[in-house]
Symmetry: C2
């Protein structure tokens, strides 16, 4: 399951004492080969955590032996001391596994602006290295969560090979070219450039189209490691399709567990001039607090959808747009159509279909509603 | 007071029956001259209400005799019927006042996507025309509010002339080149190009820097009417300064009455490379839901400030930035400085000072926190 579903990988999740709750907070995933090829996409936030700065150096040569992840602290805006903590963590993993520290990715998540306790990290790494197992995937997935209510894992099986992964993320959930912490492993035989190509294609239409709260993290990292242990080299298209399916599965799990959310909303834009336009229009609706609060109240306030679209640069005629909410076309050609009280927003799943009539491109962005619980959890956030 | 503080203006506010509550919902402001010069700035939202489309035609020649405003409905995305309603409302004002309909501005505010009852509007216009008075400013200001808890008015006096105004707006409060509904009157002698220049200069540093909830309205309109009744032609700099003071006063009133807000937050960015950069950085923080929810909980979570800044295009070095909250420098050179528990966020007024150390430009954006009450009011919005 999870990151140990594919042959050639071992993992562990342990308690390093970083979280005040005492819950598991350190995960280690090791690639036993024979290959050590990898690809990573990072947050496009220009305020980047120390693990991001470190991991960008590690992935430069496309080779990764292991990845260590901690919850309980983001190690972001912690200065030179914080970078030294990341470096020393990678060194501890290198010593325990007899690999090069330059082949060890590091990920951190939690509060920004607080130093991590290096002694606890180093001790946790040693414990994790002793606990490594081909059955360790679920433990690793449990150790990386923060405000998540449950671990997120997924597996997709190919023809003689497989791809599996784990994810965490419940807030600050608006990835840009990456997302939250995700580790994906495969036993397929693929080199680093092929993995990079597949990973960018898959994340572009999955994590990049998840926008729970409009807030981009400083620590987002999606890592893909290939062991080649299956001995099978799939076609790049087949592998990319499987990887995309896996990423969409994990993205939907992130959406359904987003902080305080009571609705999972899919904003589908059709007949846009370009795919970028479709994404921009869908994202403008996904980030509109008034629309999101209305959905929380089961109010099909489609005027707020159109007000949001009007802030974009996408070509459209406001008097040609149709809006359909959960199957009821409430607006056609920019004017009222069916009565809004025909729309049932009681179910958790909400589908907003926006027909721009400006071309033939389409895109869907996943988001959540804005709720009392979201405000509460994020006004009291402390870990 | 309000729009009748300056000589040459009459106003009225009446009950036309547009609001379910039965509260006043129609305002009329008339310029008795001798001048009829005017300037207007409109929302930059591309989804524009029918009154916006109409008023853009009216202001083309710089002459305005009257402005009619209704709450109880935005008349936006209401198709050809909605535009006809706006046109007929202007015609009703023209008949009652014996002016040209082409010199009558129209403003509407309320729910998007619902037709306004034309018969009630026409009857309300007749009632308002009969009620016009040089003391009618406060009644007009009361008739344009929606979810506002109180009317907003302000007056600034020059040397023998004055400028006064009224504003409404409590939600969908993120103007772009305009804001909410604002009517400003002056008895100064100024032609339309001078008024336009002064109005654009004043709104750029006042309403354009108010961003309560990141949501830009479809109906924003700021109108400035000059009667010339004082017989005095002030210098353009003196007039612009007075107008800017008035607009800032009204903007702060809008901020302090924003839907559900419990904090008034000023995001001040200093030492940016350009003024546009300073505004972009301040706005990115003002629109960050996690930061806004933290302020609601009196939590000085400065990491969320830096995470927001990282999403902008403004030049800055993440390891040079200082952040000071209510006088306590919690982050210096991108690392922790004073302990966050020294910051007192209990007062309603919150000041966030961001020193980018990238130049010498500065700007301040006004915003509010994200509260349970904001979510509640906007999930139950119905008027």
């Amino acid at each position: 399951m999870s990151v140990t579903a594919s042959a050639g990988f071992e993992a562990a999740g342990v308690r390093a004492g970083l979280k005040a709750s005492g819950n598991p907070d350190l995960a280690l995933v090791v690639n036993r080969g024979p290959l050590d090829s990898a690809a990573v996409v990072f947050t496009s936030n220009r305020s980047q955590a120390n693990p991001i700065i470190w991991s960008k150096q590690v992935i430069a040569d496309g080779a990764v032996s292991a990845i260590v992840l901690n919850s309980g602290g983001a190690n972001c805006f912690t200065g030179a001391q914080g970078f030294q903590t990341t470096h020393a963590t990678a060194e501890a993993v290198a010593r325990a596994l007899d690999v090069s520290a330059g082949d060890v990715l590091v990920c951190s998540t939690g509060l920004i602006g607080e130093q991590l306790p290096l002694d606890k990290l180093v001790a946790g790494v040693a414990t994790a290295a002793d606990s490594l197992s081909t059955e360790g995937g679920p433990d690793a997935a449990a150790a990386i969560i923060t405000t998540d209510s449950r671990p997120k894992t997924a597996v997709v099986t190919g023809d003689g090979w497989s791809v599996g992964g784990m994810a965490k993320g419940a807030g600050m959930l608006a990835p840009g070219l990456a997302t939250m912490l995700v580790v994906i492993t495969t036993d397929a035989v693929l080199d680093s450039p092929a993995l990079d190509s597949a990973l960018r294609a898959a994340t572009r239409v999955s994590f990049d189209r998840l926008d729970s709260d409009g807030c981009m993290s400083t620590n987002d990292q999606v890592s893909l490691l290939a062991s080649g242990a299956s001995g099978i080299a799939p076609g790049i298209d087949a592998f990319t399709a499987a990887l995309t399916e896996l990423c969409l599965d994990l993205a939907r799990q992130l959406q359904s567990d987003a902080e305080g959310a009571s609705h999972d909303i899919a904003i589908e834009v059709v007949n846009a001039a370009t795919e970028d336009d479709a994404v921009e229009v869908a994202r403008s609706v996904a980030r509109n607090n008034l629309f999101k609060a209305a959905v929380f109240g089961n109010d099909p306030n489609w005027g707020r959808v159109l007000a949001a679209i009007g802030t974009t640069r996408a070509p459209f005629d406001p008097y040609a747009v149709d809006v359909t909410m959960n199957g009821v076309r409430v607006c056609s050609n920019g004017a009222p159509d069916r009565p809004r009280d025909e729309v049932d927003l009681a179910p958790r799943a909400v589908h907003v279909l926006i027909d721009l009539k400006a071309g033939d491109a389409t895109a869907t962005v996943l988001t959540n509603d804005l709720t009392h619980d979201y405000v509460h959890e994020n006004s009291a956030y402390a870990s």
